[in-house]
Amino acid sequence: MSAALPLVFSALLLLPWLSAELAGRCTEQRRARVVAACGALANLLLAGLLVVGFYAREQPSLRFVLPLPGAVALHFALDPLNAPLLLVLSALTASVVLGGPSATLAPQRLRALLRLSALTLLMLASADLLLFALGYGLVLIPTRKLTPDPLQDHAARAVARVFKLYQWFGLSCFLCALAMLGAALGPRIWLAGSLQLDVAAFSPTLQTWVFALLICAALARMGLVPLHSWLPAALEQGSLLSIAFLASMRTGFYALARFTIPLFPQLSESAQPFLTALALCSAVYGALLALAQHDLRRMVGFLIVSQSGIMLVGLTLGDAHAAAGTLLYWLGFTVATMGLSLMIAALRARTGSCDMRALGGLVRRVPQLSAHFFLFGLATIAVPGTIAFPAEDMLIHGALEAHPLLTLAMIVAMVLNAVTIVKAFAHTFLGQPRQVRLVQGTLADLLPRERVASIALLVALICGGLFPQVLLDAQAQAAERLAHVQHESEHARR
C-alpha cells in the first residue's frame, strides 16, 4: 500500500483533469454529468485510499518531488494539514457534480468546475510556493466560465469586473512576493520546496514586504475584510456552487497556514495583533451584513466572510487548542456551507428565486429540501452532534486562554451567524408564501441523486460531530505545529 502512495497521489491530481476533458467533450448534458460523476467518485475513492494509506504509515509527512528538466523540481506534500482537506475536497466535488441542478451544470460548466477542483487539489497538495502560485493563478481561467457573463447585463458585468479586480490584485501580490523571493534566492527557489527555504537571512525590509504581499494575496482569496466585496456579489450573480466551492475551500487560509506563517514566524508574531483585529472585524462585519441580506446567496457570501474571520482568529492566536479548533472548524464549515449552497441552488432551480422576501411557506411543498436546508443550517450554528460544536468549543477555549476580550467579539459573531441562519430558514420555508406565483404548481422535492449527495454530506457532518476525536487526532500534528511555530518565534524574540 505504502509503495503505491505516490501513484495514488499522482492519480488523484490528474484524474479530475481527465474527467473534466471527457465531460466537456460530451454533447449531451446527461452523459456529461454521468462522466463527471464517475470521475468525481473515482477521485473520492482515490482520496480515501490516499488518506488511509498515509495515516497507516504513521509518518509525520510525506514529500513527493516531481523532477523537471533544467534541475527544476516541483514539491508536493501530504501531511495532517492537507490530508483531510484532500478528502473533503474530493467529497465536495462529487456531491456538487451529483447533486447540483442540471440547469447550472451544462457540459462546459461541469468542465470548468472539475478544472477548478483539480487546481484546488494542486494548491492543497503543494509544498512549494511556485506550485501554489501556479494553481492560484490558473484558477482564474476556469472561473471565467463560472463568474457572471460580462455580456449578460450591467449588473453581471459589474460583478465580473469586481471579481477580476480583487482576484488579479491577489495574484499580483503573490507574483510580486515570488519575484522578490526569486531575486533574493536565485535559482535556489526552484530547487527546494518552500517548506525548506530559510528566509531568515534576508534583509528585514525584504521579509516584511514579502510577508505583507503574501498576506494580501491570502486575504483576497479568502474574502476577508477589506478584500471581501467580490465574494457575495459573485455568489449572487455567478455560478453559486462553483464560487461557493472556491470560497469555502479557503485556499487563501491554506496559504497562510502552509507557507506564510511557517516561513515568517517572527513577522507573524509581530503582525498578530493586526491580523487578529482584522480577523475579528471580518467575523463581526460579515455576521452583521449577513443578517441584513434578503438574498440567500449573498447571505452565504457574508457568512463565509464571517467564518473566515473566525478561522483567522484561531490561527493567529498561537494557541494549540484554538489551532485544533480552527482546523476542525475549517472542515466542518466547508462541508456545511457547501451543503447549504447545494440546497439554495436546488431551491433556485425550483422557484427561480433566492429572495427570502418573495419565498416562504415552502416546507409543505418541499419538505425534504426544507429539512436538509435546516440540518445544514444546524451544522453551521454549532448544535451538539455536528462538527461545528466541538470546533467552536475548542476555538472558544483556546481563544479565551489567549485573550478573553477577543473571545467575546468572536462569540457575538457566532451568535449573529446562528440568528441569520435560523431567520433565513424561517423566512424561506415557514409561514405563508409571499409571492404565490413562485411556489405555485407542483414543486418537485429533492430528487434521489440530490438526496444522496445531501445525505452523504449530512452523515459526514453528524459522524464528525459524534466522533470528533478521530478528526482532531488526524489533524493534531498540524495544529501543534501551527501553534508551535508562533510560540517558538515568541521565545526567540524574547
Binding site: R161, G352, Q469
Partner: protein, 469 residues
Amino acid sequence: MSPIAFIALAAPLFPALAFFVIGASLLFGAGGQHVVGSERGDRRELTFVRLTSLTFTAAVTCSLTTCIWFLAHADAPIHVALGDWFGTHGYGFEIDFLIDSLSAPMMATVAILCALIGRFSATYLIREPGQPRFYLLLCLFATGMLLLVMAGSLDLLIAGWELVGISSMLLIAFFHERTFPVRNALRAFVIYRSCDIGLLAGTVLMHHYFHSAGFAAVFGPEHWTRSTSSFDAVGATFTCLCLLFAAMGKSALFPLGSWLPRAMEGPTPSSAIFYGALSVHAGAYLLLRVHPLLDAAPVARVVVVALGLVTALHGTLVARVQSDVKSQLAYATTTQVGVIFVELGLGLPRLALLHLIGHAFVRTLQLLRAPNAMQEALVLRAHAQRTGLPANAPHPSWLSPFLYQLALERFHLDTIWERGVARPLLSLSRALDALEQKWFALLTRRGEEQAPSPPLHHPPALSNGKAAQ
C-alpha cells in the same frame, strides 16, 4: 461502574435512540408524503406513539429507580466519568455525569413529565399533520433535558442546554404555516442564543478561575448544597453573573421574559412541558447546580434576589390583566420562577428545588387543562350565580390605573426589546449593507444605475422544477 450508575445513564439513551429512529424514518423514508387520516398514515402515527411510549416508559423506570435508590440510601453522589469526548493536550471535553440528590429527583421529574406529555399528545394531536415531528422534538427535548440535569460538568450541560433550545424553538413554530408562531419562535431563539453567550463565558471563566468545569472537581465530593472548596470571590462573582445571564434567557427573567407568552403559540402539550414545567426551570437548575459558587459570591446573590423579585412582581401584575388563559399561565409561571430565584439568592437551595419540582407538576396540569378553560369558566359562572359568590376575582384596589395600564402593556418590554436591541442592530447591519453597496458601485464606476443587487429580480419560476433539475 455501579449498577445504579448504569441504570441512570440509560435514562437519556432511550429518548435519544427514539429521536434517531423517528428522525431517520422522516429523513430517509417517504416522510411527509403519507396522507393524514389514511390507513398508512394512521399506522405510521400509531408506530410513533408506541415507540415514544415505550421509550418514555423505559426512561421513567430508569429515572425513578435512580431517584428511589438515592432517597433510600442517601449516599454520596455518584460521579461517572466516561472520559473525554474530544480534546487536545491540556483540555478535554469530559463526558461525566453527576447523580446526586439534586439530579436524581430532577431526572424523575423530567422523565415522568415527558412520559405524561407523550401519552397526552397521543390523543390531543391525533391525526395532526405534524404529529411525527412533535414526537421527534419531544424525544430531542427529553434527551437534552436529561443530559442537562445529569451533566457532571458545565461543558456537558451546554450540550443539553442547546438541544433544549433548538427543540423549544422548533416547537414554538410547530404551526409553521401561520406567521406569528414563526415570528415568535425566531424571537425566542434570538433571546436564547444571545443569553447563551453568558453560558459559554461562564464555562470558560470556570475553566479559567477553577481549572475545570466539572462540578465534582470544583465543588468537591460533598453534598450539592455545600462545598469545602474555597473560591476566589472575584472569579465566583463573574462566573455566577455570566451564568445568571444565561439563566435569564432560558427562565424568562425580567427584562428578557417577553418571549414566554409568545412561546405559547405552540401546541398545548409542548407549552406545558417547556414553558410550564421544564425548559423554563432550566435556568434555576443551572444556579442550583453551581450553588456553592453562588454562596461565595454575595454580589451575585444580591443580583439574583433583585432579579427574582422584579420578575415575580412583573409576572404577577401582568398575569392579572391577561385576557387569555395561556398568557395568564405564562406570567403566573414567571412569577413562580422569580420566587424560585429569590429563594436561590437567599441561600435556600432545598426549598428552591422543592418549589421547582412542585411548580413544574402543578403548572403542567394547569396548562394541559387550559383548552378546557372556557368550559370550566362557564361552569364556575353558573356555580357563582347559584351560590351568589363573585365569578371573577375583583381587581385589587392597590392596582392603580398607572400600574394597570403598565401591566396591560406588559411593561413595554416588547417595545424596549424592539427599540433597544432589534432595531438598532438591524439598522446597523442595513447601514453597513448600504455602505457596501456604495463601495461596490464605486468600484464598478457605474454609480447608482448599476447596483449589484437589484431588488427582487427573478427569472421566471419553474413550475415543477423538472427543466432545471
